[in-house]
């Protein structure tokens, strides 16, 4: 990795084409496997079949079975083995089929991957990138819908990345794979095929009309730890990531509020500078995530904003989240922090 390769103003990565988020992720894996023989992909059903969401389609055929392989169904095994391969010097990209199935792997992630560099004083590292689809909005019930990012942002030593467009997904995944620390790369599966404005009863959109659906064919990176300003504005700052970036954008447009929307993209390490600059400018801050509320990443954001921007705040920080219940099946849309919940919070914070 050299400095010239880092994202520059000039379009990197060559010619662009329209991709959905799955294709963009597939392209990132393809590019990285082509550039670096030590990158390998492993996980349940990722090999011949190419993954239950098809994110690894064609990779085994192209790079062979020792670099793209199916694994036994044991998440703790998948992560532990990836750490061991990393210790040898490889750069594994394990997939956990759904983020809801990451819990069996917690010990290897929390006690091992996250601390290996620290406890060996840098002798060993875990340069692994754990990909996993997360989030709801697909009638997946409680075991295909959860947003567990807050569990991992609480752990020292793991980076957490969440893209919101195909373009970002590819650039961030490439940067994650090149990163020498363990990265949890959570993919908002509700927007795999198109942006979602939170209105489940309106026709689904695809990525063809969205600027983030134009994706270069080749190599480019988006640095970890950098937020993106997806809308500039002066009335308030809204912090979001993943699917909620799109829901927030739609609500803001419909409400006619001049909001500044930051897509955090990386939760750890966080782009605190971008947040501070924006909140100090607008004087109001709203945080939106789909995950449950108590102890969620929104709580950390709220604390940071309050600590650092207190004297600039004109209203209390507002949090919009999923409710503190398991993810329901039939009442999915009552649970989901959609346009109504966000709209009400918006009214409240603008009144205060």
């Amino acid at each position: 990795m050299t400095d010239e390769m880092i994202e520059t103003a000039a379009p990197a990565g060559g010619e662009t084409s329209r991709m959905n988020m799955i294709q963009a992720i597939n392209s990132a894996l393809d590019v990285m496997m082509g550039r670096d023989d030590d990158v390998l992909v492993m996980g349940e059903d990722v090999g011949y079949f190419g993954g239950v969401f098809r994110a690894t389609a064609g990779l085994q055929q192209k790079y062979g079975k020792t670099r793209v392989f199916d694994t036994p169904i044991t998440e703790i095994g998948i992560i532990g083995v990836a750490i061991g391969m990393g210790a040898y010097g490889l750069r594994p990209v394990p997939e956990i089929q759904f983020a809801d199935y990451i819990y069996p792997a917690l010990d290897q992630l929390v006690s091992e991957a996250a601390r290996l560099r620290y406890r060996s004083a840098g002798e060993f590292t875990a340069p692994i990138t754990v990909r996993s689809p997360y989030g709801g909005g697909i009638f997946g019930g409680q075991t295909h819908s959860q947003s567990p990012e807050g569990i991992f942002t609480h752990v020292s030593g793991i980076k957490t990345v969440i893209p919101s467009t195909p373009y970002d997904a590819k650039g961030l995944l490439i940067a994650a794979i090149e990163d020498n620390d363990p990265v949890l790369f959570l993919e908002p599966k509700r927007i795999y095929n198109g942006p979602f404005d939170g209105n489940w009863d309106r026709p689904a959109k695809n990525w063809s009309a969205h600027p983030g659906g134009a994706v270069p064919a080749g190599y480019y990176r988006i640095e970890l730890g950098k937020a993106a300003t997806v809308r500039e504005g002066g009335d308030l700052t809204i912090l979001a990531y993943g699917t909620m970036v799109h829901v927030v954008q739609a609500v803001v447009e419909e409400a006619g509020v001049d909001a500044e929307i930051l897509d955090l993209r990386t939760l750890v390490p966080l782009d605190i500078e971008a947040i501070e600059v924006s909140v100090k400018k607008t004087g109001r801050c709203m945080i939106v995530h789909e995950a449950t509320r108590t102890g969620g990443f929104g709580a950390e954001l709220s604390a940071l904003v309050t600590e650092r921007c207190f004297h600039h705040l004109e209203a209390p920080v507002e949090r919009v989240t999923g409710f503190d219940t398991p993810y329901p099946h039939s009442l999915e849309w009552a649970y989901f922090p959609g346009p109504v919940r966000i709209g009400q919070a918006l009214k409240k914070i603008m009144k205060d």
Partner: protein
């Protein structure tokens, strides 16, 4: 990166399993050893596990090529019981067909069939006592049907409708039926395995007489929970029956990714000192006999048994799956152990207790029964956009009593309902 290979040491190579057949391949099952029915010995249920290790590597079969029930494992069941077994299996299949179609018609979000594996749940449930406790995976709807659970209740759950006693909280087919000895199904694989052991240990500690049984697919045996369960069970001689349903495929991953290239799944029992039986899972009488044997072993404090049911997942993993993308279509049709319903049917015919006309009439009758149940269930609504549940049930059951923060959130949700102008039902 790679290390330098010294001249006197050969380079290593990584073995990655590969199934024998992929889409388009002709299928030849010559590698599947099918010993003659009746050839396996039947130890006493109280015998030491180490004295019959060969049963973990062989294949216990009862129904032979002439459709007779032969050998020491043949259970002596009356024709009435056999007909009931056949009927239960056929009802499971009819139910699966209908609900699969309902999902395809957009009436619900998800469904999973058990086609080809009906014997594994039906015959096992028949060999256990009605109050023994089952910890199933998502593919043992046959237990509920065998225990006469209401088809309408099952469908209400599948539709997450007004009649769903799980209040639309679970994905379709993740039933829970405590009164029927059927533990709440989890979407997370193999979690039920140690739970079954815990239930069995509690039953033993209390001097109860009930035992537990649990099921998982061969793919799930890789999970840590499976191995923890076996360790606890052997240490405490828990009165539990472990069923591994080896249907050859775990979504797109063949059994080799769970270790089948090296040994059998029943052989997992050997390392733990547990009784292991590998049986023909498409032979309902073998399933019955093995379960009955294991139940007696458990009931006499002789400890747990692991039964590998060698079978075949005849259809896709679920409604989200297309198996033609990763396996040869000929696999299902050529499966050397046939179809469990057909084999039991032919046995009943061979002993003069059934005929094809009655079978066809029964199929029609069962299809009608399922159709009637479906109509009744659909009167309670179908999933549609999922707005059948009283809205505030969303917060029921997180805790026994609702703490302040959930009460606040519930109030917020109801305010959102007002603001949305949508006619969502209240409790």
């Amino acid at each position: 990166m790679s290390g330098d290979v010294p001249a006197n040491r050969p380079p290593l190579s990584l073995h990655v399993p590969e199934p024998r057949f992929r889409p388009g391949d002709a299928v030849d099952y010559a590698h599947v050893e099918v010993p003659p029915a009746g050839s396996a010995r039947r130890p006493e249920p109280g015998d030491a596990a180490a004295s019959f290790h060969e049963l973990a590597f062989g294949l216990v079969r009862v129904l032979d090529e002439e459709n007779r029930a032969v050998g020491p494992w043949a259970p002596r069941l009356s024709p009435d019981v056999l007909r009931q077994m056949l009927r239960n299996m056929a009802l499971v299949r009819a139910f699966d067909e209908r609900m699969f179609r309902a999902q395809r018609q957009g009436k619900t979000s998800f469904y999973m069939k058990s086609t080809g594996e009906e014997a594994v749940s039906v015959a096992a449930a028949m060999a256990m006592q009605r109050d023994d406790m089952c910890f199933p995976s998502y593919r043992q709807q046959g237990i509920l049907i065998t225990r006469d659970y209401s088809l309408v209740e099952m469908m209400n759950q599948i539709y997450s409708n007004r009649g769903d006693k799980l209040q639309g909280k679970q994905l379709p087919i993740m039933y829970s039926a405590k009164d029927y000895g059927f533990f709440s199904i989890s979407g997370n694989l193999a979690t039920q395995y140690p739970q079954a052991v815990g239930w069995a240990m509690a039953s033993a500690a209390k001097g109860d007489s009930r035992i537990a049984a649990t099921w998982c697919g061969e793919g799930s045996t890789a999970e840590g929970d499976f191995h923890s369960a076996l360790t606890f069970a052997t240490v405490y001689r828990a009165p539990v029956i472990f069923n591994v349903v080896n249907n050859q495929w775990a979504i797109s991953s063949f059994s080799g990714f769970a270790g089948a290239e090296a040994t059998t799944f029943a052989a997992r029992a050997v390392g733990y000192g547990i009784a292991g039986l590998r049986i023909d899972g498409n032979d309902a009488l073998a399933v019955y006999a093995a379960t009955e044997w294991a139940a007696e072993r458990a009931r006499t404090n002789a400890g747990p048994t692991l039964i590998e049911h060698f079978t075949y997942r005849a259809e896709g993993h679920s409604t989200s799956d297309d198996p033609t993308a990763y396996r040869s279509a000929d696999e299902a049709t050529g499966w050397p152990l046939g179809d469990p319903i057909r084999r039991l049917r032919d046995h009943l015919i061979a002993i003069g207790e059934w005929d094809l006309e009655r079978h066809a009439a029964q199929d029609l009758e069962l299809a009608e029964q399922v159709k009637r149940a479906q109509k009744e269930a659909e009167a309670n609504g179908i999933l549609g956009h999922g707005l059948h549940q009283p809205l505030d049930t969303l917060f029921d059951g997180v805790f026994e009593e609702m703490p302040w923060h959930l009460r606040e959130q519930q109030a917020q949700m109801l305010a959102e309902e007002e603001a949305s102008g949508r006619p969502w039902a209240r409790k």
